[in-house]
């Protein structure tokens, strides 16, 4: 048995399960169970909530992209600032305060106490 065999077996199994689920979907098209009431998975109806989630995810992505270039502290500050401003709809100055507090706290814990070499920008922080 070589390195490729185990993944192949699983991949075939996954394909079978996927076909099973596919067929199942057509056999029982409307499936209303009592778990539908659980708010955890309820489908998004509210357009504003949907916009918030997409904005939040977009900002998160931007933070990851720019972190290696401008460093963690600045990227995180910018992220928190725009997140709180756009999604939380907080006042401008309040957003600035939060945007300074959260990254500083995490920087203190991880970079200072745990000495994790967090990504730095060209200006050394």
């Amino acid at each position: 048995m070589g390195p490729g065999d185990f993944p192949t077996i699983i991949a075939v199994m996954l394909a079978i399960f996927a076909i099973w689920q596919f067929v199942d979907t057509f056999r029982r098209p409307v499936e209303k169970t009592e778990t539908d009431s659980s708010d955890e998975t309820e489908s998004i109806i509210n357009p504003q909530a949907r916009r918030d989630i997409i904005t939040g995810f977009g900002l998160f992505t931007v933070m990851l992209v720019i972190t290696p270039f401008i460093g963690f502290s600045l990227a995180a500050s910018l992220f928190v600032f725009s997140f709180v401003l756009l999604i939380g709809r907080y006042k401008f100055y309040l957003a600035i305060v939060i945007a300074v507090l959260i990254p500083s706290l995490l920087w203190f814990i991880f970079a200072f106490l745990l000495t994790v070499p967090l990504p730095k920008g060209p200006w050394g922080f």
């Binding site: 490729g4 996954l14 399960f17 909530a49 998160f60 999604i87 991880f110 745990l114």
Partner: protein, 495 residues
Amino acid sequence: MDIFNNLMMGFGVALEPVNLIFIGLGQLIGVSIGVLPGINASMAVAILLPLTFGLSPEASLLFLSGIYMGAMFGGSITSILLRVPGTSTAAVIALDGYEMTRQGRAGLALGITAIGSWVAGTFSVMVLMSLGPWLSTVALAFGPPEYFALIFLGLSMITSLGSDSLAKGLIAGAFGLLLGTIGMDPGVGVSRFTFGILELDNGVNFIAVLIGMFAVSQSLLNLKKPLSHLFYKGKMTGLLPRLGDLKESLGSIFRGTVLGTFIGMLPGAGATAAAFMSYSIEARISKHPERVGKGDIKCVAGPGSADNAAAGGALVPLLSLGIPGSETTAVLLGALMIHGIRPGPMLFTQHSKLVWATIASLYIANCLGLILATVGIRPLTQILKLPTPIMSAFILVMSVVGSYSLANSMVDVWVVWIFGVIGYLMKHLRIPVAPVILALVLGPMAEKSFRQSLYMSDGSLAVFVTRPITVVMLLLGLISLFLPFIISTVKGGKK
């Protein structure tokens, strides 16, 4: 008494001031996190795991199990007071618990939950203490085929118990297994599916997968419904139950405790299932069925004990066999591995100090929980005032820093991003997330023992059918996988 000596040693370690502080800190963080809806125990343990890198193995495991136990109790506080279950486990407590609050018996509901949790925690730790060493001796005699069969059994229980649709559970499980094959293959050391990314040679870091699937996707989903202005204004009196109340709920506490402990030991079933089952038992055997759902103390006491008992029970397979049965115990396994400790049947003998300290710490955490419950409930409910956007922003940044510090690399951060997306889609499609995580952890172990078995038998699959223990476990696995399916098909046919 060997167990007694070991336990004393465990208490010796756990009561060291530094360790005691970490247990208390973990408990406090755990309860606060449990109070917040949308953050569950496994997510909390995953994002806080990076904080423990600098600690000793003992301190970090004590800290994390403190969080674990605390989160269980915290979830029930908001369930009872506000009908906002902090954790999915506590959802069932909200049914009668909130009714009790409306009748002005909030203090009593919380008090009985705290006492039930304490009884449950103590009992499940006792089971862990007596069953754990025995199980690990049994498992020491296991060869690779038995180990493979055991993992197979665990995985099939996780997929069949953890989801309402078997096909979806299986898809999740197979997806996790496939993810587990990323990295260096355990036989000859060939890199698989790494696309030349060196960091992936050790496999996808499952802590990063977990942070992505739970923390990132959940904190985005939480934005859906703002929770502002939800806090308890009423008065809290009578936290300590009267003798009559205690007598009334004693039976429920015991039933919930025993049920929870044993359900917790089964892989995949977990605390939520235990709480729900306990509720339905209490509802069924109640002498006053008209009271059920209208603030029946028994229906609070039973599930309130069952969930904590399950949390303790889940540690049995983790510590004795090295096989996690729930997401949270999977994270604890990750914590052990980070400190270079290989979990498995050897744990009780090789790292007895660590294991017994953990067991003792669960005891201590239980008692601290009782104290915290009596003095801290009012301030704890204030946590709910924390606005969701700030909380989400904090968790998202925390996920980035936490995953970066796993290996000081951006690769893990992108793993978090990818699994944030996948986790979000899976929640949307109602595919269970837990089987993915557990299959990712157990998959490489399964492959390794599978291939070792084949080396033993020179490539013959007969090795899996000629050894009695292996056969029994494999059959049990198949049965647990397909029994629900067969039952539902038969039932459907009769219709």
